[in-house]
């Protein structure tokens, strides 16, 4: 497989580079290869967008419990909790 063919088809590697680029500095070579691939690949562009959305929703998931429907503990559990201090 030629160089460009490899660059254009390595979705797997590109997505991992894109994830890393949010936290680390990539080498110039990595950066260019990632940009070229992303320019031509709608699937990976798509992954990038969804990845950001996952970050956003996961942060909310762990920070804010009030936006979720409350779940009640069972009465049986509450009774057991009281029992342990009798």
């Amino acid at each position: 497989m030629g160089y460009f063919s490899r660059i254009l088809n390595n979705c797997n590697e590109t997505c991992i580079l894109s994830l890393r680029s949010k936290e680390e500095k990539l080498s110039l070579k990595q950066k260019i290869e990632m940009k070229i691939h992303l320019r031509f690949c709608t699937c990976c562009q798509n992954f990038e967008k969804q990845s950001d959305k996952i970050d956003e929703s996961m942060k909310a998931f762990f920070e804010n419990v009030d936006i979720k429907p409350p779940i009640k503990a069972s009465d049986d559990f509450k009774a057991r909790m009281k029992e342990q201090f009798k």
Partner: protein
């Protein structure tokens, strides 16, 4: 601050549902959420001398519970090493998501993209967060333990690698696979309602 059995019982009445609900959404399993809440009350009871009344009781109990949840995710539950796990599951992962007849490119349909195009605020809506908790519950526990650390304390890759004793490249593979599984699950939820 005098905490006797009477106060303890009133804590249970007042805060169990709130703490349980929080724990349930974090760990996704009823039994484990119950254990965490129980441990929280036990620690609170043992440490009642240290409660000085500046924070509300609820805030104080929540702080204890959050620490219990962090410990819960740090506990190594599976003895296999991460690299063995990743090697063993690589093939099935690649077959599920990549098209081997097309240079190994993504095999998913691009148009399945409902949640990244969703309106502002949808991602933090009750409906979407419910889907998210269902999908997290379905994730392999090995991946989930690492993936969740990223958000639970907003930690950087370096620290998470140290905690779980994994290499940086394995870490990014884990994050990549977790996100791939999660988005597939979320897209399905969105389509099926």
């Amino acid at each position: 601050m005098q905490v006797n059995t009477l106060n303890y019982n009133s804590w249970v009445d007042k805060y169990t549902d709130y703490l349980f609900s929080f724990a349930y959404y974090k760990v996704g399993k009823k039994e484990e959420a119950e254990d965490l809440v129980q441990e929280t009350f036990l620690s609170a009871y043992k440490g009642r001398e240290t409660y000085n009344g500046t924070a509300s009781e609820k805030t104080w109990l929540m702080a204890i519970l959050k620490n219990k949840i962090i410990d819960y995710y740090r506990k190594p539950k599976i003895t296999d090493s991460f690299s063995t796990y990743l090697d063993q599951t690589e093939e099935s992962f690649e077959h599920s998501f990549f098209d081997q007849d097309n240079y190994g490119r993504w095999s998913e349909k691009v148009e399945d993209n409902y949640f990244s195009k969703a309106a502002d605020g949808y991602l933090i809506s009750k409906e979407f967060q419910k889907f998210l908790s269902i999908c997290l519950e379905k994730m392999p526990s090995k991946l989930k333990a690492v993936f969740v650390s990223k958000y639970i304390e907003d930690e950087k890759a370096e620290n998470i690698c140290k905690e779980h004793d994994i290499t940086s490249s394995n870490y990014w593979v884990i994050i990549f696979r977790s996100k791939t599984l999660l988005r597939t699950c979320l897209e399905k939820k969105g389509v099926l309602g």
